[in-house]
């Protein structure tokens, strides 16, 4: 399932996939795979993404 919340939060911060990837220390393709729902990140990476985007884990990764 696509992670549209992550994509929206990234867009709200005006960050490209590459910028977010550089900030959390992964490749752009990894961020792309997470947004497309093709890769399930570890909690460590989820936390790093949340810190950069200023969101909570629930806001970005909890499926309603």
């Amino acid at each position: 399932m696509k992670n549209l919340k992550l994509k929206a939060a990234r867009a709200a911060k005006d960050l490209s996939q590459q910028a977010l990837a550089d900030a959390v220390g992964v490749s752009r393709q990894t961020i792309n795979a997470i947004e497309k729902g093709e890769y399930n990140p570890t909690i460590k990476l989820c936390r790093a993404i949340c810190k950069v985007l200023g969101c909570t884990l629930d806001e970005l990764f909890w499926e309603e």
């Binding site: 490209s16 996939q17 220390g25 992964v26 490749s27 752009r28 393709q29 990894t30 792309n32 795979a33 497309k36 890769y39 990140p41 570890t42 460590k44 990476l45």
Partner: protein, 164 residues
């Protein structure tokens, strides 16, 4: 000192220098490790299947290639498969590695192998049931050709924005 021991020591020293030089660079990320593990697994099983298949053919049909030559061909095949899976999953190079430099290097190696096969090796392709040096160079050139083409395609795809 035995020249083989000297060569092994030089290779170890070279590996240590390379490891020390790359220590400060970022490594692979968690998704890339996962892709690499999948690639190792696929390469391992393909190698086993290749050797087993040749073994069965030899058992029922007769010997085609000598065991070491079969193992060498299987290794190059599985190495190429591993590279392909990693390239498709963008897990072949480290995060901070320079892609153009890698492409230039693999293209140079490919050209050297091809030049060697075409202009400097004029012996037979097989010595009885064993690969000759010429065919081993050709196999290595084939590996680098596949890696080069696949990486170039991936590089172009990513430069055009990938699937963002």
């Amino acid at each position: 000192m035995d020249p083989w021991i000297l060569i092994i020591l030089l290779v170890i020293a070279f590996a240590v220098v390379l490891a020390a030089a790359g220590r400060d660079k970022a490594d692979y990320d968690e998704r890339q490790w996962q892709v690499q593990l999948r690639a190792y697994r696929a390469a391992f099983w393909v190698f086993l299947a290749f050797v087993l298949g040749f073994g069965l053919i030899e058992l029922f049909v007769g010997e085609i290639l000598e065991t070491l030559s079969v193992a060498l061909a299987g290794m190059i095949l599985s190495l190429t498969l591993h590279a392909l899976i990693c390239i498709c999953g963008d897990a072949y190079l480290k995060l901070k590695a320079s892609r153009p430099r890698f492409l230039a290097l693999t293209t140079l190696i490919l050209l050297l192998y091809l030049c060697n096969v075409l202009f400097f090796q004029d012996g037979p392709w097989l010595h009885g049931d064993q690969f000759s040096g010429r065919s081993i160079y050709l196999l290595a050139a084939g590996h680098f050709l596949v890696v080069d083409v696949a990486y170039f395609a991936r590089y172009l795809y990513d430069r055009r924005g990938g699937c963002e």
